[in-house]
């Protein structure tokens, strides 16, 4: 695959994140491994509660990790790091949040919301320079400079999300974690926000980690997809491969859940509900294995043979 000669920007290795409730341990993320290459859009897909947001938040250091490493450009960024490294990280990795209403400070003007990062690192020469930067950031997301003195509650959902994007972009990051950036938005403005994100990607060569539960959006937006189920990554593949050859039964049921705008197809569609208890889990413990270059699936040796047979059948049929 072409991925091999690409530069790895972020590498997550055997990541574990646990939450404790009265000493009772809950493993939200189990042994997650994946690489994100520079310049790509990597999507993390799964149902709610599967741990996808937790992975995103541990990369940006909001959640402490309990095991494993997160490497950014080869440097470990989880656990204890120095103040200097933390500063570099904040400038290089930014996040776009899910709920634009909740992620903006309601008591601060848009001017402050957007300049917050500039203030923290003093990324401006003087007051005029800061204002010019804020104006440019607002214009780049299609808002007007006159909005600076307004408060977040005066904006529509799509406008607020664009403020959220401007706030992240003004830091000039290399890597952006977008935590379901469009799921709280009206359908009519989803495309607008996605196109805006794509525009920034092209202009600045950004790398995205796109957390979502909506596969139809992910198909349009991302280069590679990781499917996560109950804290475990079950399949990683380039987008077209994943949609053509979904190997893991969970991936299969996720893809099935995407509605097709054709009543005839929808009527005859047989929904596969993924139920782990009904699966044949015999044999040794499954691990994430590479079945084709760039296509990983969570399986043991017995399952690998089944998947291999399935793949060859599909490939023969020229699907």
């Amino acid at each position: 695959m072409a991925n091999e000669n690409k530069e790895v920007l972020l590498s997550v290795q055997h990541l574990e994140v646990s939450f404790y409730n009265n000493k009772k341990r809950f493993r939200a993320v189990k042994n997650a491994c994946f690489d994100i290459y520079k310049g790509e859009t990597f999507a993390l897909v799964g149902e709610s509660g599967s741990g996808k947001t937790t992975i995103g938040r541990s990369i940006i250091r909001l959640n402490p990790t309990s095991d494993g490493d997160i490497l950014y450009k080869g440097k470990k960024i989880n656990g204890k790091i120095s103040k200097e490294e933390q500063r570099d990280l904040v400038r290089n990795i930014q996040m776009i949040f899910q709920d634009p209403a909740a992620s903006l400070n309601e008591r601060a003007t848009i001017d402050y919301c957007i300049s917050e990062g500039l203030y923290n690192f003093h990324l401006y020469k003087d007051e005029a320079d800061r204002e010019a930067k804020v104006d440019r950031a607002l214009e780049s997301v299609g808002l007007l400079p006159e909005h600076k003195s307004r408060y977040p509650h005066e904006f529509s959902g799509g406008q607020r999300q664009r403020v959220g994007i401007a706030r992240a972009m003004i830091m000039e990051p290399e890597f952006i974690i977008a935590d379901e950036p469009i799921s709280a938005l009206d359908v009519s403005i989803r495309a607008q926000v996605l196109n805006l994100m794509n525009k920034f990607k092209e202009e600045r060569g950004l790398t995205y980690m796109f957390i979502a539960h909506d596969l139809s959006v992910v198909r349009y937006f991302s280069d590679r997809i990781a499917v996560i189920h109950k804290g475990r990554i079950v399949e990683i593949a380039p987008t077209d491969i994943l949609f053509r050859f979904p190997l893991h039964p969970y991936t299969h049921s996720l893809l099935q859940a995407v509605p097709i705008p054709d009543p005839k197809v929808e009527k005859s569609k047989e929904l596969v509900i993924y139920d782990e208890s009904k699966r044949d889990l015999s044999g040794e413990k499954p691990v994430l294995q590479e079945i084709r270059p760039g296509h990983f699936v969570f399986a043991n040796d017995r399952e690998m043979k089944e998947y291999e047979a399935k793949l060859q059948e599909w490939e023969k049929a020229g699907k």
Binding site: R57, I60, Q86, A102, S103, N120, G142, L144, S149
Partner: protein, 309 residues
């Protein structure tokens, strides 16, 4: 003439949909507009301001001193009913009640105001960090559990016996016993908004904890702090009256509403001198009620949720 040249293309203005037509919102202007929208509140504000100003200005002219009773030997000046010369009458030693009441009121008010200021500043600062730091919480919650379960009166009484009676001692005792509950109150509010997403966003942008507290948390707490102040001032006035009444507050050298109530409680049933008791009681009630209503109205007005109609 065809239909085509009767129409012309109009350029679409992409930014038109981005304009906000609503008038510019200003937090403090909205607070004032909301606050002054009620006539009852304006009346109460006038009463509270009038009483406060008068009780601080009048004693400057009267130079009232409770230890001096220059008319004690003049029998004709005892128990005079209210008149032009003595608007509130005189008592058993010929004290001009008008001077005594305002000096007492000023003293009681200043105790309440100073104690409230100390309690609020200390409580808010400690409460903000207490709510934010899990390590501090572990210690503070134990301290709070112990201190909050000792009756307040007991602590004040012991303190007053140890450090002596007097105005500053009373302020110290009152502040000592109440800042912790204000801090606890603020801690709970901070914990509620601490983990909201916009604070996580600030963290992602590298904002320091102290800046998060001052820029993200405190603006949300304005109405809560104002509520706390509105509750504290009348409370402290009542505490002072109560403590002076049961004899652990101020001593005889300091005029105070509590001491007046205690001194004249015996005349409550005497028709000719009942006003000696009722005037300080009514004044105490009036100032508590007016301050409370003004405070509550300010607390309501400072909550932006009330600004939208």
């Amino acid at each position: 003439m065809t239909a085509d040249n009767r129409f012309e293309f109009v350029k679409m203005d992409e930014t038109a949909s981005e304009h906000i037509a609503a008038p510019r919102y200003s937090y403090w202007r909205s607070v004032f507009r909301k606050f002054f929208s009620s006539k009852v509140v304006i009346l109460m504000l006038v009463i509270a301001l009038a009483i406060t100003l008068f009780s601080f200005i009048q004693p400057l002219f009267s130079k009232f001193d409770p230890t001096v009773a220059q008319d004690i030997l003049d029998r004709s000046k005892r128990f005079l009913p209210p008149s032009l010369e003595y608007p509130f009458g005189t008592d058993h030693v010929g004290t001009n009640m008008f001077d005594a009441v305002w000096a007492s009121c000023g003293n009681s008010l200043s105790i309440a105001l100073i104690a409230t200021a100390i309690t609020t500043v200390l409580g808010v600062i400690v409460g903000a960090f207490w709510g934010f730091s899990k390590k501090l919480d572990k210690i503070m919650i134990e301290v709070y559990n112990v201190v909050a379960n000792i009756p307040f009166t007991l602590v004040v009484m012991v303190l007053m016996y140890v450090i002596g009676r007097g105005k500053w001692q009373l302020i110290f005792a009152l502040s000592c016993t109440s800042w912790l509950s204000t801090a606890y109150f603020i801690r709970v509010q901070v914990m509620i908004i601490r983990d909201r997403e916009y604070n996580l966003a600030s963290k992602c942008l590298g904002t320091k904890t102290s800046t998060i507290i001052s820029h993200n948390i405190m603006p949300y707490l304005i109405s809560i702090i104002v509520t706390s102040i509105a509750r504290d001032i009348p409370n402290f006035i009542s505490y002072e009256v109560f403590l002076s009444f049961i004899g652990v507050g101020l001593d005889y050298r300091e005029p105070s509403l509590g001491r007046m109530v205690q001194d004249y409680v015996g005349y409550m049933q005497t028709p000719s001198a009942a006003h000696l008791f009722w005037i300080p009681v009514c004044l105490c009630a009036l100032i508590s009620i007016s301050l409370y209503i003004v405070g509550q109205a300010l607390a309501d007005a400072s909550d932006p949720r009330t600004h939208m109609i």
